[in-house]
């Protein structure tokens, strides 16, 4: 039986996360351009099967298929009426697969809009959108709130604060997406790792870190910066490289062996959770889990 998440990330050993959802659903037939969240309602069997495969591969965290499940984001697909069902059903499917062997981490992605003053979305509106989604996720029984793929620190901290308000008893992971440039590591909005680690923890995140991006190797550089600057445990979930198109389908440059071997370099002091993002599959997670248990 899996214990308390916070004790585990604070005391170790490193938690094995799961891998991608959106890119895996596409591999299994989700048409390009169809919001992945819709498949929770239309193809629950497939969503459940992916969760099962991740648990069977050794993932100790099952992420919910709710990355784009905030009202602001669903509204852009004219699906605003589905906030409750999309989010609650996804938690239910993840919970069935996780049973008592894995934690259910409820994914909360960006709104997809720019906040004022750079864009037209009032921060209060974004906050309310996160509150609504996270409220449903928490009521449906998620174990963890996982804010991810953020590039704007203001938006990320709004999501973390919303979690603290509507799901005060749940641990919060907050991850942003960084680029490694010649001038240093930044999000496209210009946020540095040190700023992110501090502001996200100040907003109430229990675990901070990075996801998505450009593959394991560049993520190693990002992880090193977190290891230097974070005062909380760290979560790292790289992509399996960059997407390429082979025989009419998307494929990623880093296969399971390469990914798992390179992921060894992510296991730095403070890194408490390692998983995968776009392009990773149960096969990647199986080898990663082996790698993690070998280093325990």
């Amino acid at each position: 039986v899996i214990g308390d998440f916070l004790s585990r990330v604070r005391g170790g050993p490193t938690v094995c996360g799961d891998g991608a959802w959106g890119s895996l659903l596409m591999e299994r037939g989700l048409p390009s351009g169809r919001p992945p969240e819709l498949w929770t309602l239309e193809r629950p069997d497939l969503v459940r099967a992916i969760a099962d495969e991740y648990v069977a591969s050794g993932a100790e965290v099952v992420t919910t298929n709710t990355f784009g499940g905030s009202p602001l984001r669903l509204d852009a697909h004219r699906l605003a009426g589905h906030v409750e069902t999309v989010n609650a059903s996804a938690v239910k499917l993840a919970r069935e697969a996780a049973a008592d062997r894995a934690w259910v981490a409820a994914s909360v992605g960006p709104s997809g809009r720019l906040l004022a003053p750079f864009g037209d979305v009032d921060p209060d509106v974004a906050y309310a959108s996160f509150e609504q989604q996270i409220g449903v996720l928490a009521d449906a029984g998620a174990d963890i709130i996982c804010v991810e793929t953020m590039t704007d620190l203001a938006e990320a901290t709004l999501a973390v604060r919303a979690a603290g308000t509507v799901a005060p008893r749940l641990p919060v992971i907050a991850m942003m997406t960084f680029e490694v440039t010649a001038r240093g590591v930044f999000t496209v909005m210009g946020v540095r790792v040190e700023q992110a680690a501090q502001a996200l923890a100040d907003a109430g995140a229990d675990v901070v870190g990075a996801n998505c991006g450009y593959g394991v190797e560049s993520m190693t550089i990002v992880a090193r910066e977190f290891a230097t600057h974070a005062r909380t445990p760290i979560a790292i979930r790289p992509n399996a490289g960059m997407p390429q198109r082979r025989d009419g389908r998307l494929a990623y440059s880093e296969g399971p062996e390469m990914f798992a071997a390179a992921a060894r370099n992510l296991m730095l002091p403070g890194v408490a959770l390692v998983g995968g993002c776009c392009g990773t599959t149960p096969a990647h997670i199986r080898l990663l889990a082996g790698q993690l248990s070998a280093s325990k």
Binding site: G22, S23, L25, M26, L30, S32, G33, R34, P35, P36, R73, A76, H77, G112, L114, F118, G119, T151, E179, T181, A182, R183, G184, F186, T187, V188, M189, G190, M242, P243, Q244, R245, R246, G248, R249, L250, C278, G279
Partner: protein
């Protein structure tokens, strides 16, 4: 510092009020609109683009500069039109089916307009046939397709395919871009060009419209 240099500097700093005031001053001083555009606004945006590419500045800075550019263009456009400055070409832009992200696409639209192109902006979640219909209706010779998500980028191939299927490959070029998109991906789907950011999109599109 001369007026146009001051204008360019303020544009690069994203001071939209100052940019409007200085543009009005330049017009009142009798400077040719095409010169204001070229020497202050386009050169300013080019500098912004280069500094963003080197990550000396970030997306918020580019957005502020683009907003200031937009304000100045509103003042200059009627004068440029009256002066019969020829269009650099017509470009259809949009974000691919299922994708609602428009930040990058809007930047490209801004910068293309600034560079003298006519832009038909179809917005987000655009189906392949709509891109092609719009190109036919507007006489555009370039279609630009944006995607931010790994779950939507595959749809870019659909746009390239429809251009080909409808027999327009010789007349309409395709260019793709967005965070997960790479040059290799663009080549694999048969797009004519790839751009890694808004300034290089403008450069590449300039090359594409010159195609015979």
């Amino acid at each position: 510092m001369d007026l146009l240099t001051t204008l360019s500097t303020n544009l690069q700093e994203g001071n939209d009020r100052a940019v409007c005031v200085l543009t009005r001053q330049a017009i009142a001083a009798g400077l040719p609109p095409a010169e204001i555009l070229d020497r202050a606004l386009l050169s300013g945006m080019a500098a912004v683009g280069a500094r963003f590419r080197d990550r000396e500045i970030f997306l918020p800075d580019v957005l502020l500069a683009a907003r200031a550019m937009h304000g100045a263009m509103a003042l200059l456009k009627p004068l440029l039109a009256a002066g019969n400055v020829p269009s650099a070409g017509t470009v259809v832009l949009g974000t691919v089916s299922g994708d609602i992200h428009d930040i990058g696409k809007n930047l490209v639209a801004f910068m293309l307009q600034g560079a003298g192109f006519d832009v038909v902006d179809l917005g987000t979640d655009v189906a392949p046939d709509r891109f092609v219909d719009a190109a036919i209706d507007s006489g555009a010779t370039v279609i630009g397709v944006s995607a931010l998500l790994t779950t939507t980028m595959a749809g870019m191939a659909g746009v390239v395919d429809v251009v080909r299927r409808r027999g327009l490959s010789a007349r309409v070029a395709t260019i793709v871009g967005g965070a997960p998109v790479t040059d290799a991906f663009a080549r694999e789907i048969g797009a004519d060009a790839y751009a890694s950011d808004a300034p290089s999109a403008v450069e590449r599109i300039r090359g594409l419209v010159r195609r015979p």
